[in-house]
Amino acid sequence: MTQDSSRLTPEAGRQKPPRRLIFVLPVAIFAILAVYFAVGLTKDPSKLESVLINMPVADFQLLAIKGRANPDRTWGLESADFNGTVSLLNVFGSWCIACQVEHPFLMHVKKISDVPVHGIDWREEDPDAGPNWLKRYGDPYTLIGDDPNSKGAISFGVTGAPETFVVDKQGVIRYKHIGPLDQTVWDDVIYPLVVELRKQ
């Protein structure tokens, strides 16, 4: 008796291929989304890819900070300063805790390397704050521009401090590091890049 029951649904076999798709498709879509989100949601959204890589340093002029004025120069730091030699640009501020963490390493770089490190003293509310900070912790910078209203920072697309840029001899931005520089970043990325760019 039971073996005859299949007779009641003679078309059951016909529906097999689309049925299978209905089960497989959601699983496939879920798998794709899971991978997409696993990658996308674990990225740090504050670490933005800069659009300025391989672009020339934008035209800007910043006055010198207090105590660093040079009678031979109109500006403390300007775009023309990046022509002719491979250099680093570090954006800092006395209000920035991570900059304080980074600072001893910049002093170390000054000792171990002859790469000029220029600074943008970003958004000091008190014009004495930056100079006092450098007096207290040491001054690793070759040239410093005072940037009270973010003109310099915006021309480098800066979103936070500290940020460090590597600029080649032609004044083209070649690399951007977000966050404090340390020995690892220096050894792995910055120094090899500087050596490479100096050969060009």
Binding site: P18, I22, E49, L52, A58, R123, N149, S150, A153
Partner: protein, 177 residues
């Protein structure tokens, strides 16, 4: 009663008198209301890069303030709205735009949802069309699929009666065959 009325009136008056709070400070505003209006429009579409989910028009972050001032300076210098936006994008990339531009890399973002909805409608339509054809009617090409299942033949009626009979008897005796 009177006190209640007074309270309600005061509350309504407060609600009517209040205006939305903006981050833009009076000192930043331009004297020309047309330019200021354009500056507000542009700022509302630019992302604050510190807070990221606010526009620079809404944000009190220092960088947002400086970007707002920059937008106004460029407008005063005679830039068009597009030129101002292009300048900020040239520094910070498309990420700074709260509404992503339509271009090859964002086609999936803009048109993906439409495609997925269309695909869904297609799948649902296909499934329903298949279901409309009932299994029994589909086997009998002579009958109209919309008229429902055909009547049982004499032989089938007899089998059905036997089956019902069987199960009745089983229930009575409690025996399973």
């Amino acid at each position: 009663m009177n006190i209640r009325r007074l309270v309600i009136h005061t509350l309504v008056a407060c609600l009517l008198a209040s205006t939305p709070v903006f981050a833009v400070e009076p000192g930043e505003m331009l004297d020309d209301p047309v330019l200021e209006g354009r500056a507000r429009d542009i700022s509302a579409g630019l992302r604050c890069l510190v807070c990221q989910n606010q526009s620079i028009d809404d944000s009190n972050a220092q960088l947002a303030i400086d970007l707002r001032v920059l937008v106004r300076e460029r407008l005063v210098m005679g830039d068009s709205n597009d030129q101002v936006v292009d300048y900020v994008v040239s520094r910070y990339g498309d990420f700074v735009l709260l509404s992503p531009p339509v271009k090859a890399s964002t086609y999936v973002l803009w048109f993906g949802p439409v495609l997925i909805v269309m695909f869904g409608i297609f799948v649902v339509a296909t499934v329903f069309r298949r279901r409309n054809i009932s299994p029994i009617a589909a086997g009998d090409s002579s009958s109209d699929p919309t008229s429902g299942p055909r009547a049982l033949s004499e032989e089938e009626k007899k089998r059905l009666a036997d089956l019902l009979d069987d199960s009745d008897r089983n229930r009575k005796t409690g025996e399973i065959t």
